[in-house]
Amino acid sequence: MADPKGAVDFQAALLRKARWRPLEFVVWVAAFALPLLMPSHALMVNEIAIVALFAMSLDLILGYTGIVSLGHAAFFGFGAYAAALFAKLVMPDPTVGLLFAIVVSAALGALASVTILRGTDLTRLMVTLGTALLLLELANKLDWLTGGADGLQGVVMGPVLGMFEFDLFGRTAAWYSLTIVLVLFLVMRRIVQSPFGATLKAIRDNRLRAMAIGIPVASRLVTIYTIAAAIAGAAGALLAQTTGFASLDVLAFDRSADVMLMLVIGGVGWLYGGIAGAIVFKLLQDTLSTVTPQYWMFWIGLILVLLVLVGRDRLLKPWTWFGRRA
């Protein structure tokens, strides 16, 4: 490349990543078509959409900002309880409930963000985990409000926008969740491609240098942690609204661990990684637990091990399987 590049080329190069690819349209159209094409799997579509959103919210902090968390379920669960309680005690409209859940989860996220500002990966892992476990204990103790270990029952959801009732087939649920997921996905996509998103990657790559070019590291961390919490809360709210209840395990450790597995399987630092991971993990779990209800864990474990041995970045790119090894 002998001739020097002009600003126009550079601008094109920078904007290239922000463009929509044809495949992306296909993915979303297919997602929305699924409940029609395969009505019997609408429930699965709903569940996958929800965990995909949850995984993407984790990606904002893990993949883009480099903050490990084993307690992301804290926000998922908080959103779920918030939405369920809102429907039960205030009003049954799902969209208002969703907004409410998002706001309170964001508030919790802002509060909890003080815990992740300092320390090593291990410290953050444990502090986030501890926060989630505390919340779990709290929900258990406040049984007059949350129903304790029996779960919060008697949540009746109104129709979406006053028009679409949640049906037994789960189609309304699937479309409702998919719509919310799409909207939030668009927001997240904007965020990670913006200058703001670039500062997050800078913090992930080299915190010292990020500070030395004038990025307010702490306030960026608080902001993104709050956003991630809000979106995790939205995912939790969707689960509570489409299933009509909330129980302690929305806050449980397993949920935090599962979402981390999904995200890592799908690939971090890539929003579609959360989606891909959610699809792969959920389908695997569902198929395996149907085939062998007692021992599916073994096969999931084996797949995880193989996945790492083969190289997880290659798993989702089959064309590299037979190429030469580095």
């Binding site: 019997s40 429930l43 699965m44 569940e47 204990e137 258990n140 049984d143 304790g148 270990a149 029996d150 779960g151 029952q153 037994l168 087939f169 789960g170 689960l239 299933t243 009509g244 209840f245 129980s247 302690l248 395990d249 929305v250 397993d254 637990s289 149907t290 209800p293 007692q294 021992y295 599916w296 864990m297």
Partner: protein
């Protein structure tokens, strides 16, 4: 297709509650093996699903079973939240829901389509609250796991015990995942009650028992009493001789002296490499029976409502003794036994020495 009758069995097959799922699945299969898989001209098909005791999974599985597999009955349900999660679906789709394990009193009120074949904690705790004061136990400390069933046990035992003139000195709740009971037991020891009343989920029973002995509490004159979960048949043999003499109340013991039970226990152990059936198994076994009988009565005709109607009011001889499905509450009415751990042929058993006849769930009384 029309000639198939499908039962969706949702159980925790992995995780903490796995043994519940294992026992129930084995019992259900045993019932089918003994009674054939064709009833009223219909072929019975059992679809087992693992919900890992996570209620939102339970709910999705139930919904898929109802909508996609078009099952006629959903059954199983290892823990209370799981049973409750599926309840609205049962109502909405008019599918009978047979609860074979979960034991919180309020479950049957969650849907008019729920029928229970296990037991309720109030049922068995109240029996202890009656027996203890009559047998020299005047003061008690309760120790329960901090979740629905534990709270039920604590509440109903204490109330009845106090009503009968006993004194509950202290009520302790331990976290569900509790690795070490030492501090709680030390507290009990320092409180010096006549007895310690325990409810913990069956896996933790042996830990409580051992630490109870290790702390020398029996020598300090404190008796151990509780619901039958503590001396679960599944575990009892491994607990060692320290368990001898522990008195519990429960609705089923593998040592229940009846011909029906003998047959059940033998067949069960033969089919499962010597695994002893426990109260979970009998819940599953009777649950299958309730479904079979209902199908027979309706002659394979009619939908969920007909089946449900046929389930209500069933009276039959279960391995645990005579039972009735109360037509009003759809909950089980059964005998509750007082048992003491004894050694028979080198094995430990809960040997029944007294019985309260036809106990209704006291949770429904109010």
């Amino acid at each position: 297709q029309d000639n198939v009758f499908k039962i969706g069995l949702i159980l925790p097959m992995t995780g903490q509650q796995a043994s519940t799922g294992r026992q129930i699945e084995a019992a259900a299969k045993l019932y089918m093996a003994q009674n054939g898989d064709t009833v009223a001209g219909k072929k019975i098909q059992l679809i087992v699903k693992d919900d890992t005791a996570t209620p939102d999974v339970t709910k999705r599985l139930a919904q898929e079973l109802i909508v996609n597999d078009k099952v006629n009955v959903i059954a199983g349900f290892g823990v209370t939240p799981a049973a409750l999660a599926a309840a609205p679906l049962a109502t909405q789709s008019k599918t009978p829901q047979v609860v074979m394990a979960a034991a919180t009193s309020s479950i049957t009120e969650a849907s008019p389509y729920i029928v229970r074949t296990s037991f309720t904690l109030p049922q068995v705790s109240v029996a202890m609250g009656d027996w203890a004061p009559k047998n020299g136990i005047k003061s008690v400390v309760t120790l329960v796991s901090d979740y629905g069933p534990g709270n039920d046990a604590e509440k109903y035992f204490s109330e009845r015990f106090a009503l009968n003139g006993g004194k509950v000195i202290e009520k302790l709740r331990v976290p569900l995942r509790n690795p070490d009971f030492a501090p709680f037991l030390q507290k009990v020891r320092d409180a010096k009650p006549d007895a310690l009343f325990v409810f913990v989920p069956s896996g933790a029973g042996s830990a409580v028992m051992k630490q109870f002995l290790e702390r020398g509490m029996d020598k300090a004159g404190i008796k151990l009493i509780g619901t039958g979960d503590v001396t679960d048949d599944d575990q009892l043999n491994d607990m060692g001789d320290g368990a001898l003499g522990v008195v519990t109340t429960h609705h089923y013991s593998a040592a229940h002296p009846s011909a029906a039970n003998k047959k059940f226990v033998e067949a069960f152990m033969k089919a499962n490499k010597g695994m002893r059936p426990n109260f979970m198994a009998v819940g599953g076994y009777d649950g299958m029976r309730v479904i079979y009988e209902a199908l027979k009565q309706t002659k394979g005709q009619g939908g969920g409502d007909a089946l449900l109607a046929a389930m209500k009011g069933q009276i039959f001889e279960s391995p645990r003794g005579e039972v009735l499905i109360d037509a009003q509450t759809r909950d089980i009415v059964q005998d509750v036994y007082l048992r003491k751990v004894e050694k028979k042929d080198g094995q430990l058993y809960n040997v029944e020495f007294d019985v309260l006849k036809a106990v209704k769930d006291p949770g429904k009384a109010k």
